[in-house]
Point group: C2
Chain length 303, copies 2
């Protein structure tokens, strides 16, 4: 059973892992958000893609939710001592990846090829694709001004309320090579329990991908990131409230209008009307058992 | 007694240290070579400048002769595992400096300002100046083709014989701010026992600096990098043989024709005719005592 999953950061990577633990991993294609990519001193950093990669490779710092387990911080500490800007923290091993990626990009290798190579080197059997090889950047409009995603998210601690989200470069962006084929060959399309606006939004802002989902011939199912009207982590609930008018499953459905056939919601939200077919389960991926339960709920969904 | 010293890598940095240990360090201005600078995945690396900085700060890996003492290599190892090019090795703490410098350069801060700030942060009291804030790059012509300096030196292990040395950008390069003033205020100008072609050559390729030396009103003295017709380290002896026709003090003098008043040579070369006033001493800087002896020989030179 071939599954394509659209995924953002931590929630997305955990759900991608759930699928690869439940299906043969080679049946799973993970499409990662690149709207939150940034350059640090010219090094290309792809936080969501890397969180997915590290998660699938089993090297994620699980407690922290980003970066590599057993990481060292000597580069950051040296930069700090020299007065460097280190608000976007890069561990030493993580830096090694950014060096290798940046060097390959500068040689002209596309991000998708580099990502596939890194996944192979890490022994990841699932297919990991960036949504696009083109430049696509998420901007966040707030009462304090418009900021590049990571400026708002990390540097300003996503404290500013979000008035709008803009995807620079989305108009020109093509889906990464192989992505449309993977969607075409899929038996199920899944949307991970990621932030609809800034994790999944940038992927769906690419016309080719949105079109493919709109014209899908197989079921598509999203997992709501809400548990009792709140998100486990991150600002998705505040954004749903402000941008979609509420923090119930119906607002998640609204974000994916015409693109999904069903929504997986948590037991804590079972009393809410979702405006679409729902399947109710526990969605918090606390351990392997919880991941498997969620993956099976998604994969078994009758639509 | 104000001294300006032109310096390249390890020999230059040890000699600069010798001067700062012998004079009040605030009396010493070190002009570092930047012709061997390179970009690694877009990060600006200044190997000679950093070796001087680390030496004066007391954090150089003395055994290795480059990089920082007690360094870790997790970024390099991670990059290697991912198939990255790691022929130019960057330690984790060293990377932190390159990150801080590159970020500052991208913000528009000149290399000289950044270098001064780093020196201050490291507690270095001597003034450390890059020869220029402009782009100046050393190219090495060999029978196998012309290579950027570090490609020849590190990647190819400086095995190719050198037919010629070219300084890209030297025509347009201005001396770093404060450099001409330092030369003007100097009581003595010194040239460190560095490679005349690729360590000192790029500095002297800047017209403002060469002119200032040609029209100096104070003594200038160079320290020969030769000991018994050979260099302690690096390819300077082979280059002197091939490009200047011999490996005796006279060939070193030829490299600095019109720019120096005396040459400090090692006892092992005392029998050779230098073609200029010489002072003979032991030039190998094995320890603090040896450094002091050499510095005093240079500072006491009657010209």
């Amino acid at each position: 059973m071939n599954v394509v999953v659209l995924a953002g950061g931590l929630g997305g990577s955990r759900f991608a892992r759930a699928l690869t633990e439940t299906l043969p991993p080679t049946d799973v294609t993970v499409v990662g958000n690149v709207g939150d990519d940034l350059e640090v001193a010219g090094l290309r950093v792809s936080p969501d893609l890397d969180t997915i990669l590290y998660t699938l490779a089993g090297v994620l710092d699980e407690a922290q939710g980003w970066g590599r387990a057993g990481e060292t911080w000597n580069a950051r500490d040296a930069a700090t001592e020299l007065g460097g800007e280190t608000w976007f923290q890069l561990g030493d091993r993580d830096l090694g990846l950014h060096l290798a990626r940046t060097e390959a990009l500068r040689r002209g290798e596309p991000l998708s090829t580099i990502t596939a190579r890194f996944a192979r080197r890490f022994g990841v059997e699932a297919t990991l694709l960036p949504a696009t090889d083109n430049r696509l950047r998420t901007w966040i409009a707030t009462p304090a001004g418009e900021f590049p995603f990571q400026e708002w998210f990390v540097r300003r601690g996503h404290r500013d309320e979000v008035d709008a989200v803009r995807f620079e470069g989305a108009d020109q962006a093509r889906s990464a090579p192989g992505l449309l084929d993977a969607l075409d060959a899929a038996d199920l399309i899944a949307i991970a329990p990621s932030n609809p606006f800034v994790s999944i939004g940038p992927i769906l802002a690419i016309a080719e991908i949105r079109d493919a989902l709109e014209h899908r011939r197989v079921p598509a199912v999203a997992v709501s990131p809400l548990i009792g009207g709140r998100t486990v982590r991150g600002p998705a609930d505040r954004m749903l409230q402000r941008l979609a008018g509420g923090t119930a499953p119906a607002q998640v459905t609204d974000c994916y209008k015409g693109l999904i056939d069903a929504l997986v919601i948590d037991e804590a939200d079972a009393h809410e009307e979702a405006g679409i077919q729902t399947i109710v389960t526990r969605t918090l991926m606390t351990d392997a058992e919880a991941r498997r339960r969620l993956a099976e709920a998604v994969l078994g969904i009758p639509v």
